[in-house]
């Protein structure tokens, strides 16, 4: 019966998390802390990026250290389209766009296609080489956007309004918060279907024993590549939302420390759990925001927390809660 209990406990956790997410804006008003809504939005956005990375790290056994590239590409898709919507068309022909139903799918698509290309090359390597080559590609994009002076270079690129969504006022932070929570819920649902499908079974087989998967007649490469692209697309969505939250994009989104942050969220929350990385994102954002009041070196606290979790919790924080 231990198993039944564990499942119930996880469901209780899930329902509690969902309820908390739904009433957070009211809670923020009641507590007189309106910035809780922004923190919640940030958590939801990072969680989308971390959940998508978990598909690679936790399910496929691919430690990608370049997830920020796709996060940044999603963000810059929003920023660049907003820039051209307010001014000249791109290359004189491609018009800008500010409607979410155009921009967000484009951001997801751009990140997914970039991941397909980067993955096609990176996945020819394994282990440490794979970590390094994904890092190298992300750094390439970082320096590309640093050098693109048209789009602000180092300073980044701001824009005036969030992408338009029917029925959502662009200045309404609470409404945007709910949009991000809904996006996270959709990503969680989609990914949990994905990992249980035939495709997901194959990914998990590859993580556990790639040689064995070869011996039963599977070419692993196309499946790893598809997973890499899907994860990149997920990070693209997170990047698009992040750009909307701040109404600003900068090369920081593509920095290798961002890739590291996503990895930490996954490991902290629990690899191969999907819901764990949501907890990881929450812990990371909240710790950062509280500790940053005292010191900018908040990682001094975060580091030991991570070490303890890695040493004592095989499945991260979620593993402890189970």
């Amino acid at each position: 019966m231990a198993k039944g209990f564990a499942v119930r406990r996880e469901q209780v956790l899930g329902v509690a998390g969902l309820l908390l997410a739904l009433v957070l804006p009211n809670l923020a008003v009641a507590l007189g802390k309106p910035d809780l809504v922004t923190l919640g939005t940030q958590i939801a956005i990072y969680a989308i990026g971390a959940v998508s990375l978990d598909l690679l790290i936790g399910y496929t056994g691919l430690s990608s250290f370049g997830h920020a590239a796709f996060f940044g590409l999603g963000g810059y898709t929003v920023g660049i389209l907003a820039f051209h919507a307010a001014g000249e068309p791109m290359f004189g022909v491609i018009p800008g766009a500010t409607e979410a139903w155009i921009v967000w799918p484009l951001a997801i698509g751009v990140a997914g296609v970039a991941a397909l290309a980067i993955g096609a090359l990176s996945l020819r390597t394994e282990g440490v080489s794979f970590i390094m080559i994904t890092l190298a590609f992300a750094e390439m994009f970082f320096f590309l956007f640093v050098s693109l002076k048209t789009y602000g270079g180092d300073d980044g690129l701001g824009f005036r309004r969030r992408n338009g969504l029917p029925g959502v006022a662009p200045r309404d932070d609470v409404a945007f918060y709910y949009v991000c929570v809904a996006a996270l819920a959709a990503v969680l649902f989609g990914f949990s279907r994905l990992v249980g499908s035939r495709f997901g079974r194959v990914l998990q087989g590859i993580r556990q024993n790639p040689r064995r998967m070869g011996a039963i007649g599977l070419s692993t490469y196309p499946y790893k590549l598809a997973a890499f692209s899907i994860a990149g697309a997920g990070a693209g969505l997170a990047g698009a939302l992040h750009a909307n939250l701040l109404r600003f994009v900068s090369p920081d989104m593509l920095h290798w420390t961002m890739s590291g942050d996503f990895m930490i969220m996954v490991v902290l929350g629990g690899t191969g759990t999907l819901f764990g990385p949501v907890i990881g994102a929450a812990v990371m954002v909240l710790l950062q925001s509280w500790l940053a009041q005292w010191t900018e070196h908040w990682m001094i606290v975060m580091g030991p927390v991570l070490v303890l979790v890695v040493l004592f919790a095989r499945r991260g924080i979620l593993g402890l809660l189970r």
Partner: protein
């Protein structure tokens, strides 16, 4: 007597070491063919070259009437051969049933299906359950592979290999690490497969080899020095010198 597998002049060098040196032998359809030889004779290399995990520097492998020398592993599995590993090689987090079901899934075509839960697919679970029963693991279907006893894991590997529908099984030391009773159980299982499936068996357990094999090929320094029935091999003076030596 149809030749199912034809190995001709395989050469494979690792630096200065020659692991396969003009290696040639045939496996006839339906037989259990054992490949024996002292440590370092190149038995595992031979399995690697035949299964497609390694590429030969020279020589050819013909299987079921076609040259497969240039085919990748997956294509060779599709053509009807599969291998097991010297070191136990299952998917530890999956149950025994899930391990075998995944083989049927791969066999059924591509796995680019992203939505429907695979856990409920009877088309995969039913043949997997039947295969486990056939190999003597019927009662352990829902146990995670990591919690199975060592001998059971080896049985599971064999079930997975059989589930690919292979005409030829390349078994790399299926008795490795097994106790006496477990070895005997595995010998019985292999004996039960004889006649249904062609098997190329690499094995150190000489009792098992001489009990099971229809024919034996002896490998020394990457070369086949003799091929024949167990009786002929036992009587072969070159084999006695090179290998069976003292204790045979």
């Amino acid at each position: 007597m149809t030749v199912l597998l034809e190995v001709r002049g395989l050469v494979r060098r690792f630096g200065g070491l020659i692991a396969a040196n003009n290696l040639s032998f045939d496996v006839v359809e339906g037989e259990l063919h054992a490949l024996i030889g002292p440590n370092g004779a190149g038995k595992s290399t031979a399995i690697g070259l035949i299964s497609g995990e390694q590429r030969p520097d020279a020589g050819r492998v013909r299987f079921d009437g076609a040259d497969v020398t240039a085919l990748p592993i997956a294509a060779r599995v599709k053509a009807g051969m599969t291998r097991s590993f010297q070191i136990t090689s299952v998917l530890p987090d999956f149950t025994a049933l899930e391990n075998v079901a995944l083989v049927y899934q791969v066999r059924a075509g591509h796995s680019f299906r992203f939505w429907r839960p695979a856990a409920g697919e009877r088309a995969l679970l039913e043949p997997a359950g039947a295969m486990l029963a056939r190999i003597g693991l019927g009662g352990r279907a829902d146990v995670p592979a990591r919690d199975l006893a060592h001998g059971e894991q080896r049985q599971l590997e064999l079930a997975m290999a059989l589930a690919t529908g292979a005409k030829l099984l390349l078994l790399d030391e299926p008795m490795a690490g097994l106790g006496t009773a477990e070895s005997q159980a595995m010998t019985d299982i292999l004996a039960g497969l004889k006649g249904h499936t062609t098997i190329l068996l690499v094995e150190h357990d000489m009792d098992a080899v001489f009990a099971l094999a229809d024919r034996i090929t002896v490998l020394v320094y990457g070369q086949a020095i003799a091929s024949g029935t167990p009786k002929a091999i036992r009587g072969d003076p070159a084999v006695r010198d090179a290998y069976l030596g003292e204790d045979a």
